[in-house]
Amino acid sequence: MSTIQILFFFLTALALFSAIMVLVSKNPVHSVLWLIVVFFAISGHYVLLNAQFLAIVNLIVYAGAIMVLFLFVIMLMNLNSEAEPRKHIWMKMAGVISGGCFLMVLVSLVRQATDMQQRTALMGSGNVGLIKNLGKALFSDYVVPFEISSVLFLSAMVGAIVIGKK
């Protein structure tokens, strides 16, 4: 087992474990902290795929900005376990059954997708994820969606002002 493989399995286990902890934690603050661990593990995966820019952006935007905002909101709302609305047992059962069905479909997909099995991800090589190539793709092949997304951000900004203004 090479170093990259060991790292891969370690990061995967870490991501899965902390993602489950996000769901099981009773305290919302703990959930958020576990979510930050998930983001770090996923950023580790990006580094393994030689996509350093994506890894850093993931950390700065998600683990940095958004999670801090999340923590603030949760602390301001002062959530505790008593305030949590009680779910009916049937609702829980329905959730478990439909979620389980979806999991089964996805697992069977991965097992049956024979055309996927010969392909492997490029680990530690390839230069698609480097900032130079990313910028080139963004301003040549994907320039139309890049420019059109400005409309999206503009409308989001207008919305923030409309809702925020008295």
Binding site: L106, D115, V144, L152, L154, S155, V158
Partner: protein, 464 residues
């Protein structure tokens, strides 16, 4: 490209118009003029006279179908602004911003009518929905409006997440965002279709998300609450232009993929259609508020529009254009009258036939069109939907179910007509009704009847 660029520009112009003038009526007329310019720019592209050409690397493809839909959607918006402009002015303080957001929605509509790749589809859907979350919350003092907006935002983001998961799976299977509409389908030795399982799963996830966006059962739960909580004038826009655009995106996304999904796809779709018709129509019968009844009826109408997806042939596309026009015009008309009333209950319509005969006549025509009575636009819309399904060899029972539910829908639409003509009382008209509004409503009614006599008025746009 004209429609996308001009609608985005018009949005920016509207934002600045709020700085220049504080007169709300002036802002409304600027919006109406911008809409006329937008329609003209789009028509120039439809007839190939002038267009801004951009190398989109095959991510957008401007076909006649999408461009004609743009024209119809913009025209419906113009009628909406002219009829309900007064209520947009009174919906809140930031009138210029509301119009700007409406133009951004139209930008999303024109992307959705011409996308040729999943990336553009995602952007289009987001540009379409994000302004709607804000318009839903525009009545800031009203708790229900806030609740509706938050509910819409949370559910909408969740369904967008499902869509992204689907796009990721399809990208993983095919390695590109392209739609592959013309890709030949390879048959494996056993006769089954050789498609990557990841692609099928991705398409199913996208189906779930799109069904949510057009409020097809069983993904319709957000619709009544959001449509009911939002200010009536914006519900009118959400239930018409936006919903029709969702269907255009739906049919564009799936028309090339039915072969990949195999025969199970038709069974799945038939189940969704029947569930949508059942839930929409049966629940609408029991509503006490006209606004809530109309939101359930919009679910029921979505069930009919899903037939276009079921057959997805040329006739279905024609029918979908006709359906979006007939449904949008009728719903815009009813909402325009409804938001003039104090409350949204059936009793508010009592005696409208005596005090405002012109309005009552126009509302009656709109309701008849929604119910699909012959000589109104709605009849041919429903006819085209069902005929395209029969042409494609759809099962007979599905046809019978659809006709039965259309008959059920007559009941709850006629309750409003009954209240207007056969019940005593004074209608609680809140705002003053101008003669211009009356004339507009009667013209709208005439337009709907004209569509019912000569549906080729719309269909010819497709060919000439």
């Amino acid at each position: 490209m004209n429609a996308i660029i001009f609608s985005a520009l018009a949005g920016v112009v509207m934002m600045y118009s709020g700085i220049i003038t504080s007169k709300k009526t002036v802002i409304k007329y600027i919006a109406a003029i911008a809409l006329v310019v937008l329609i003209a720019a789009n028509l120039l592209q439809v007839y190939g006279i002038w267009q801004i050409s951009v190398d989109t690397r095959d991510m957008l493809s401007f076909e006649k179908f999408g461009l004609v839909f743009n024209t119809l959607a913009f025209t419906a918006t113009l009628i909406y602004v002219l009829l309900s402009g007064k209520e947009i002015e009174n919906a809140g303080v930031n009138v210029a911003e509301y119009f700007a957001l409406i133009f951004f929605v139209l930008c999303g509509v024109s992307i959705l009518s011409s996308f040729n790749g999943l990336l553009m589809m995602f952007l289009g859907i987001e540009i379409l929905t994000i302004p709607l979350y804000i318009l839903t919350a525009s009545d800031k003092r009203n708790l229900r409006s806030n609740e509706a907006s938050l509910k819409y935002f949370l559910m909408g983001s969740f369904s967008t997440g499902i869509m992204l998961m689907g796009i990721a799976l399809v990208y993983g299977a095919t390695g590109s965002f392209a739609l592959h509409t013309n890709a030949p389908v390879a048959l494996s030795a056993t006769g089954g279709i050789k498609a990557s399982f990841l692609e099928v799963a991705g398409m199913i996830l996208m189906f779930v998300s799109m069904a949510f966006k057009v409020s097809a059962a069983p993904f319709h739960f957000w619709t009544p609450d959001v449509y009911d909580g939002a200010p009536g004038v914006f519900t009118s826009f959400m239930a018409t232009v936006v919903k029709a655009a969702g269907f255009i995106a739906f049919i564009r996304l799936f028309e090339g993929h039915t072969a990949i999904l195999g025969p199970t796809w038709k069974i799945l779709l038939a189940f969704v259609i029947v569930a949508t018709l059942l839930i929409g129509n049966v629940t609408a019968v029991f509503q006490q508020s006209v606004k809530r009844m109309l939101s359930y009826s919009s679910i029921a109408q979505a069930g009919f529009m899903l037939f276009a997806l079921y057959s997805s042939n040329d006739m279905a596309k024609e029918g979908l254009l006709l359906y979006s026009v007939a449904y949008s015009l009728a719903t815009i008309g009813i909402f325009a009258v409804l938001i003039k009333l104090k409350d949204y209950a059936f009793d508010d319509f009592n005696g409208l036939g005596k005090t405002h005969p012109a309005l009552a006549f126009a509302t009656t025509v709109c309701l008849l069109s929604l119910a699909g009575i012959p000589l109104t636009g709605g009849f041919f819309a429903k006819y085209y939907m069902l005929a395209s399904m029969v042409k494609e060899g759809g099962p007979l029972w599905l046809l019978i179910v659809a006709v039965l539910f259309a008959a059920v829908s007559v009941y709850y639409y006629f309750r409003v007509i009954q209240a207007m003509y056969f019940k005593e009382g004074t209608p609680s008209v809140q705002t003053e009704i101008t003669s211009g509004f009356k004339a507009g409503m009667v013209l709208l009614a005439i337009l709907i009847i004209l569509l019912g006599i000569a549906p080729s008025l719309v269909l010819n746009l497709f060919y000439f």
